[in-house]
Amino acid sequence: MVGKVKIRYVGLFLTPILLVVGLILNLILGEVNVPYTCLVTCNQVKYRIIILDIRLPSTLASLVVGYVLGVSGAVMQGVLRNPLAEPFTTGIASAAVLGGLLGYLLVLVGGLTGSYSTLAIPILALVVGLSSSIVVVMLGSRLGVIGLILMGILITLLSYAASMIVMLMIESINPTASIQPLYLLYGNLSGVLWWQVYAMLASAVPTILIIIYLSRYIDLLMLGDDVAKASGVNPVNVRRILVALTSVPLAVSLAFTGIIGFVGIMAPYVVRQMTGRGSGSVVVPWSGLVGSLILTYSYLASRIMIKGYVVPITAVTGIAGIPLLMWMIARGGFGAST
């Protein structure tokens, strides 16, 4: 018992420290290794450009997107009363991919050039992703947990079907076109620009603060709709508000960095193990932090794993995450003791 408690405190203490270390490593390691003294004062312009313009925005993106995925995973697992739920259970990811493809089609058909062409893909990914969430929240939540999951599955199927047709249309217009928006499928943090980091922060900070403020309502939802209702809380509205709040920063992150899997399902597991607690007021904020930690190191690994290549993030999070998840499930059952 004492040993277990000690391990818990060590874990809580180490998470922020490891996170900061990971962020620093991301700034100095990579294709070019920047001397660490450069973090304080840097005389060489080359290094300054690498750190400030290339690595800092991507590193901050890994921090923000990791936090968003961790929080969203914790919210979804609580709201859907299912430890296997993840941020994209409502179908928002496949809808965002469809949006990206539509954006690309628009570029080809409309002959867009310049900044219009670079903006079309993320903006449509954002719009279609958010619209899908609105549909799921409006139609699904009234039917309870099953309704939300069912709507999510249907949205996913619909997006796949529509994506197939859009891809064929793109190919019919330009048979040699490499279908650019497919990068959304694999998750990519390299190449994130400063304005995109600001957009992600602007969408994430206010929504996540509200989610954390509301996180104890998740506990009430976990005990069932009747218990919530008897306590004077409308479970349908709470589910709607929480799912809607997560979908805003999720859609923005998806539009710029694509689908990053496993972080959202893993982080809450790790937090429940680490803290021994299940309340949203603990699991939600800590899942964000653990999500940032996982994504920061995954991003680092994705850049230094194979020299000269950046491995897709989801490949790294999957390779690291799936065995961990398998071990946890085998050890504790489906959330029974996690």
Binding site: M222, L223, G224
Partner: protein
Amino acid sequence: MHPPEPLVEFKDAYIGYGSRVVVRGLNLTVSRGGLTVLLGPNGSGKTTVMRAIFGSARVVKGVLRVNGTVSYSPAEVDGLVNLTVLETVRTARRGYAWVNNEDAVKALSEVGMLSKVNARLSELSTGEKRLTMIARAIASNADLILIDEPTANLDPGNRHRVLKVILSLITQHTVMVATHDVDLALLANQVVMLRDGSVVDVGPPVEVITEENLTKLYGVSARVMRNGGEVHVVFPMHEKP
């Protein structure tokens, strides 16, 4: 002086979900203090009556008045709930505020669950889960505590623990219980017998727990034996000649 307002009042109420009516023509008044038992077989509409009180079921026709706060403890806490015992009790609300730690711990000690405050709800036995949910109701300080099937699927030891907690609960709170357990009904101030959504009989247990009513309720012949102050109810497997 006016008589005190009843906590819950159903007047010729038809209750259901959407357009489906489950309970028909219910007349029931619950005053402050004591135990009201909704007695009937599975599917007779007991839970629906409770759900009407907190708004999960709809009163289609007739009147329902509720004057006070309510706490509900379901028969089963479904899903893979990862909350600890203490966190579960702390989901209780007093008005618009969450229950504080001190009140939660006090309520858990009242039901004898203090040794398990940090255990996961999903790791508890059915009886312990029910005791935790009863502690949650105590902590909420609700005017009316609704408990659904408190003794279903319990071994004799756990059943005894739960019954003892309910007995001490009714000295300070107004409690309504839905059950098919006749022994629990014998402890009540008021018993409402339900079958197929209709009331068979309402009244104190000495009046309504009769062989005729029980036979009507469960569809098998019942024997009620009175021995001094004690009442025993059996459903014999073999008819006596």
